[in-house]
């Protein structure tokens, strides 16, 4: 799209609403993620385009998890239109899609950064570390990265960051589902190790239940001490 056209519309290149632009009526475009960007890159000769997304930047406890997913662009199965950004899907639908994406994908990498590293490095650097290790763990190397919101120059790979990529690109949406389900499963397992906080239910996010239990029991080893609500409870 020409830059002129972009300026007139309140939407970006892929139809997303741009920051600061007013909502014109019911302008939330019901948009499904597509392979449009991936196809464009394929025409430029890239073969293994990885979608990358991260989950768990907000919670007070637990790891940050990132996933990288390379899909065959010829993929055309009845479940593909069900794929959305993981936040728009029910837990049940995510669990349903998780194994299907796992089998259909050419390669999948999942990277974790534990809470103590989040404390020492800060959440932004931890996010980058998780994304980098997801890419490095891909069993088949990728030649182009499509990343949600962030750029990873340290990897030295051609890449593009897309704002709201998880609701625009199918590869990034699939990565968001893989990352979300992986992290939720970790938190359910950690609930057995550190019971009493309700990690299986809130997955470490700052719900009322979590905050009450945090005040009652204090922080446990998987709490992120650099986050304000946790820090207050330690004092």
């Amino acid at each position: 799209m020409a830059e002129k056209d972009c300026a007139r519309l309140p939407y970006g290149e892929y139809g997303q609403r741009l920051k600061g632009e007013p909502l014109t009526g019911r302008s939330k475009i019901a948009q499904r993620p597509t392979f449009i960007e991936e196809r464009r890159l394929e025409e430029q000769g890239y073969r293994f385009i990885a979608g990358i997304d991260e989950v768990g930047r907000g919670p007070l406890a637990g790891p940050i998890v990132a996933a990288a997913v390379i899909l065959p662009l010829s993929l055309n199965t009845p479940w593909l239109p069900m794929v959305r950004d993981s936040k728009e899907l029910t837990p049940r639908r995510r669990e349903f899609l998780f194994p299907l994406i796992g089998r259909a994908a050419i390669a999948i990498g999942v990277g974790y950064v534990p809470p103590d590293v989040i404390d020492s490095q800060g959440i932004i650097r931890a996010t980058r570390m998780a994304m980098c290790s997801a890419v490095e763990l891909l069993p088949r190397p990728s030649d182009f990265l499509l990343i949600d919101h962030i750029s990873l120059p340290e990897l030295g790979l051609p890449q593009k960051n897309i704002i709201k990529g998880d609701s625009l690109s199918l590869s990034i949406a699939c990565a968001s589902i893989i990352a979300k389900v992986s992290r939720d499963r970790i938190m359910v397992a950690l609930d057995d190790v550190y019971p009493g906080y309700g990690f299986a239910r809130h997955k470490g996010y700052a719900t009322r239940e979590h905050l009450e239990n945090l005040r009652r029991w204090g922080a446990c080893p998987i709490h992120r001490r650099c986050f304000a609500p946790v820090r207050e409870c330690i004092r």
Binding site: N76, T77, P78, W79, P81, M82, R93, F96, L100, R103
Partner: protein, 135 residues
């Protein structure tokens, strides 16, 4: 076609219908209909713990999983409207399983629905194939 379930009660409003028999009749109607359209039927009533697929067929290099929906009245919606999201999930799960456990399959697959509507007396009033019903 003159299949007719034997279990119908004569008085209107008091039809007591054996659901299983209506379903079986619908599947038979659907099978004949699909064969007429040139489908090669691979399997019927493919059953797994996760669910069941009524008909598995092949046509034009497509592997097609078919859910047959039979209704005797449309007062609760048309047959095809009765395919719920959770039913779709089951169909996809079983279809994926079938693909992984069988060889020499066509390259692509899809899920179709055959809608069969019956009159209260058990006559077929409508048969329709809805291609790619899931998406």
């Amino acid at each position: 076609m003159s299949h007719s379930p034997k279990v119908l009660c004569p008085r209107p409003g008091m039809y007591k219908v054996n659901r299983r028999e209506v379903g079986a009749l619908g599947e038979k109607v659907a099978r004949e209909y699909l064969e007429g359209l040139g489908f090669f039927i691979r399997e019927t009533n493919f059953r797994l713990r996760e669910g069941e697929i009524d008909i598995i067929a092949e046509k034009d290099d497509f592997l097609i999983f078919i859910e047959v929906r039979t209704r005797m009245s449309t007062s609760f919606g048309t047959p095809e409207e009765s395919v719920t999201p959770s039913k779709i999930e089951k169909l996809i799960t079983v279809a994926q399983n079938y693909i992984e456990t069988h060889e020499d399959l066509p390259p692509s697959w899809r899920i179709d629905v055959v809608a069969v509507e019956l009159t209260p007396k058990g006559k077929v009033s409508r048969v329709e194939l809805i291609e790619n019903a899931v998406s």
